[in-house]
Symmetry: C5
């Protein structure tokens, strides 16, 4: 899973069957410093997310497991809201 920020909305009226009513948001993956990390994704939202929310997303096939109907062609879903994350940069001095 990835940390991500909700940065926009997608209006898509003509869709294939099975994906007719999902709410779609633009999310930007973040690294552990809150910086952009990777390409913007279109994610399904069932967690009542809004613009600016810090979330964690799941991508790939398992994304559909978050939806009521799992046979939906979806590969990114917002699975939770992140209140806070802490990073301790100096963990583990050496590689081994």
């Amino acid at each position: 899973m990835h940390l991500a920020r909700v940065i926009g909305r997608v209006v898509a009226t003509r869709r294939i069957t099975g994906l007719a009513t999902e709410k779609l948001l633009l999310v930007r993956p973040l690294d552990e410093h809150g910086e952009s990390a990777g390409n913007t994704l279109v994610a399904c939202d069932i967690a009542n997310s809004g613009l600016g929310d810090l979330v964690h997303i799941c991508d790939g096939r398992e994304s559909t497991l978050a939806l009521a109907e799992t046979y939906v062609p979806v590969d990114a879903t917002i699975v939770g809201h992140v209140e806070q994350f802490e990073v301790q940069e100096d963990v583990g001095g050496s590689a081994q």
Copy 2:
């Protein structure tokens, strides 16, 4: 899922069984500014897409869920047409 633009057609007459009749298009993934983001893909189209259309695509195993016959070796499918997308860049001042 990713935003993408339909940029071309693929003519592929000799195919394996199970993928005999799918319409194949070249799509270019886009970021939230409409700029190219990632490698061009060959995607199945069941949404009546045309050249220049702004779409959202699904890649990976779940792509086949969009097709009538799900046991098709396909890993990118156009799942909807995007009329509009809005980005609010200044959401979330700090990372946390």
Copy 3:
């Protein structure tokens, strides 16, 4: 799926059970201009491909769907031959 060019052969005599007889080829993913795009892959071939052929490949779990026996640990398969592809670069003036 990706466009790709067959660029070589792999000779692999000692293999795990279930992957004993598949023909293996080296393929180079291409972008919409026919330029190299991404790392060379080892792909199964059931489409009678030869050196220099322009093909489209499927990667990930769904690759096995192309094979007679789907419980094979394979993640790239040549699923068709591409006779031609056309790109129209000037489609869609603005992002939205």
Copy 4:
């Protein structure tokens, strides 16, 4: 699978059903020299991992196989602790 270092914690109270109680950690993928390699991930932990631990993670759909309940939308899980890893750089003089 990838080598990774546990570098932080994620506090996420509001989550979708099915992912309610998993412990979430920030992990940084490492290369064979212990250097950062790739984007930081949010991983489920069922191996009692702590900050600074060297672990190996599994990403993608198969991550859920590590959990008691496999129908959980999860795509990264810590599957073991690494006590030590050895690299022999000079193996195989030529490519073939």
Copy 5:
């Protein structure tokens, strides 16, 4: 699948159930010239591989298909040994 070279060993004593006894190796993906291509992976080995061996690996969910027990959270497996690979660089003069 990818060409790869076995470059090291991973000692991981504390693991989750289901992954208790697999032999783990560090492998470096290679391109068609035998040069490093992509991040080092931790791969399961059931093909009796040793340091320096040239192998081809399978990553993603289908990796588990190589193992006796397929419900193992594994995403990279050595599926065969490569005796030789040949590349013909000058195949296909033009892109189309």
